[in-house]
Symmetry: C2
Subunit: 144 residues, 2 copies
């Protein structure tokens, strides 16, 4: 059992909610890879492994997993939301190729400075951020 399942169980328990096999399976599958995912893909992966979890259950649990901090919304594309497993990874940003869809993850070391500045300047308590860049990768430049 991955450690994320334990974290989620604790989170649920603190909220007076229940541990269920479906919830365990969802968390396990999200952390089975480090990739980004969407609801439909996660559902198919679960089915392939023999799980009977319904999409409704996935949709009902995603807000809880977000609140728990284990996943993050990363972008809305092709008509649906995309997420990424978050726990255990330093926060990172995305660079995407508009042509081939390649995603490079990178760290923006300067962001912390900007964050501090904003907290001082506006009195905010900043909890989360998202930085994405788009463009063309070396291979795709000139292919259009």
């Amino acid at each position: 059992m991955g450690k994320e399942v334990g974290l989620f169980r604790t989170f649920m328990s603190r909220k007076g909610l229940r541990k269920t096999p479906e919830r365990d399976q969802i968390i396990e599958e999200i952390f089975a890879t480090t990739d980004h995912f969407d609801v439909d893909g996660l559902y198919l992966r679960l089915r392939q492994k023999g799980s009977k979890v319904s999409k409704a259950s996935i949709y009902r649990n995603i807000p809880l997993i977000l609140e728990c901090g284990l996943i993050k919304e990363v972008w809305h594309e092709d008509g649906h939301m995309h997420y990424e497993a978050f726990y255990g990874q330093a926060p990172h940003c995305h660079l995407r190729c508009l042509q081939c869809g390649q995603v490079i993850e990178f760290f923006a070391e300067d962001l912390e400075k900007t964050k501090k500045r904003l907290e001082n300047q506006y009195g905010y308590k900043i909890l989360d951020h998202r930085l994405d860049m788009k463009g063309y990768c070396s291979k795709c430049q000139g292919n259009f």
Copy 2:
């Protein structure tokens, strides 16, 4: 007539597409304020001013206005996409309060450096970026 209408007409013309009153009205209304907007809100503002533009026309034109560079997608929330007028503004980022919804726009001066670094490191040509931060504003801290 706002200068954005002219820019969009030129853009359309280069693509062999047409100038229509509906397109002019949509562009004018987007740039009537500097606020963020969504399709439904834009549609209502147009109706209030007596325009007969349909939502279908707004939806059909948004990809073109995006491609033209006059607007940007900023975030997907409450089940629909939010945009902002883009032309004539230096690119800016958003800091949002999760409690009251206040949005502060700021400039992240360090981003250019990061962008350059990525272009060199990965051979990318970067066209666009998005940086958003979320947290609680000074008033809302402690109100929950």
